[in-house]
């Protein structure tokens, strides 16, 4: 059974998020069927709340009051808002990947070999971040199946960041099933 992760749910988004990555696995994109180059038709949005940023900063153990003390940040931050960790982008990606392009990020059995991210502007509390994604590459190396999404983050049409996100995933739906059933058997 899962650990006591429920104890750490602090935000509205965390509580409403589909946390069971096994549920609906049959609908996730798979390495062998993904359509390379197709972009999601309707962009998905993440409205950045102060509590979202605080949760990410605190989970990493940050102590700078600009990152963890909203009252201090309102007075001393250059923007008057709490400062987001640059990889808060991770939360945004998982939030928008529950359906459509890039659902393979939720695949049980996925492994993270490395990432590349460009940040043009930091994410700010209050931003309504739009994410457009396309799977841009897949390849096999040493019998492992790699897949890469390019996700572009923008606010009001202004590009904030690009993320080439790569995972090693089980290559077929049957391979994903093997991991999914390991979960079910473990319950």
């Amino acid at each position: 059974m899962a650990t006591r992760v429920g104890e750490y749910l602090e935000t509205r988004k965390q509580r409403g998020f589909p946390r069971d990555f096994i549920e609906g696995w049959e609908d996730y994109e798979t390495w062998d069927t993904v359509e390379i180059g197709r972009s999601n038709e309707s962009s998905r949005r993440f409205v950045v709340a102060e509590e979202d940023v605080l949760a990410y900063n605190r989970a990493l153990g940050e102590t700078d009051p600009l990152m963890v003390d909203p009252d201090y940040a309102r007075e001393h931050s250059p923007t008057g808002r709490i400062v987001a960790h640059p990889l808060f982008l991770t939360t945004i990606i998982f939030y928008v990947s529950t359906e459509g392009i890039g659902t393979w990020v939720r695949t049980p059995g996925a492994r993270n070999p490395g990432q590349r991210i460009e940040i043009l502007e930091p994410v700010q509390v209050g931003d309504e971040v739009e994410v457009t994604s396309a799977t841009v590459d897949r390849w096999i190396r040493r019998d492992k199946h790699y897949i890469t999404n390019l996700s572009e983050f923008s606010v009001d049409g202004r590009l904030l960041a690009r993320w080439w996100g790569t995972l090693i995933i089980p290559p077929t739906r049957e391979a994903v099933r093997a991991f999914a059933e390991a979960i079910e058997a473990a319950r």
Binding site: M1, A2, T3, R4, V5, E7, Y8, L9, E10, K13, Q14, F17, R19, D20, F21, I22, A55, Y56, R58, A59, L60, G61, E62, D64, L66, M67, S77, P78, V83, H85, P86, L87, T90, T91, F94, Y95, R106, P108, G109, A110, R111, N112, P113, G114, Q115, R116, I117, E118, I119, L120, P122, F179, A182, I183, A185, A186, R187
Partner: protein
């Protein structure tokens, strides 16, 4: 013609400058909290029973999120030079999983100085994460600009 060598420093930081290291004990509590914060609830991180059966990394324990490790490598810079320091490029790879119960140590060193002019200057930091055995578990290259 001048024969002087251009200075290899920026903002008072020179090539080879080492950032103060970070250590972090990887507990299930740390992983669970990061899972909630990042919305990455993959069972490979938060479900010990499933991990024992699936053994995705050849061992039965849950593993630290790769993005948590990469985030801590970015934190090296934020904790050294302040939260508003801008990290503009992050490229890294994970070479070995980090399991519950291990301590991760993160280090960084300035490898490039790019004096391009006010507002465009940047440094390149090579960061490394090692596990309790001293094995490298991840490396990342960060491009860093001073906050305006």
């Amino acid at each position: 013609m001048s024969t002087s060598t251009p200075s290899a420093d920026l903002w008072g930081v020179t090539l080879g400058h080492e950032l103060p290291p970070i250590t972090q004990l990887i507990t299930q509590q740390f992983i669970d909290r990061y899972a909630a914060a990042s919305l990455d609830f993959n069972p490979v991180h938060i479900d010990p029973d499933w991990c024992a059966r699936a053994q995705v990394f050849g061992r039965p324990e849950p593993v630290l999120h790769g993005m948590a490790q990469m985030s801590l490598l970015c934190s090296l810079v934020l904790r050294a030079w302040g939260a508003t320091t801008q990290i503009t490029h992050i490229e890294g790879k994970f070479t070995k999983p980090m399991f519950v119960g291990e301590t991760i140590t993160l280090t960084g060193v300035v490898t490039e100085v790019h004096p391009l002019g006010e507002g465009r200057d940047y440094l390149v930091i090579a960061t490394t994460a090692t596990d309790s055995a001293g094995d490298v578990v991840g490396v990342t290259t960060l491009s860093v600009r001073k906050s305006p």
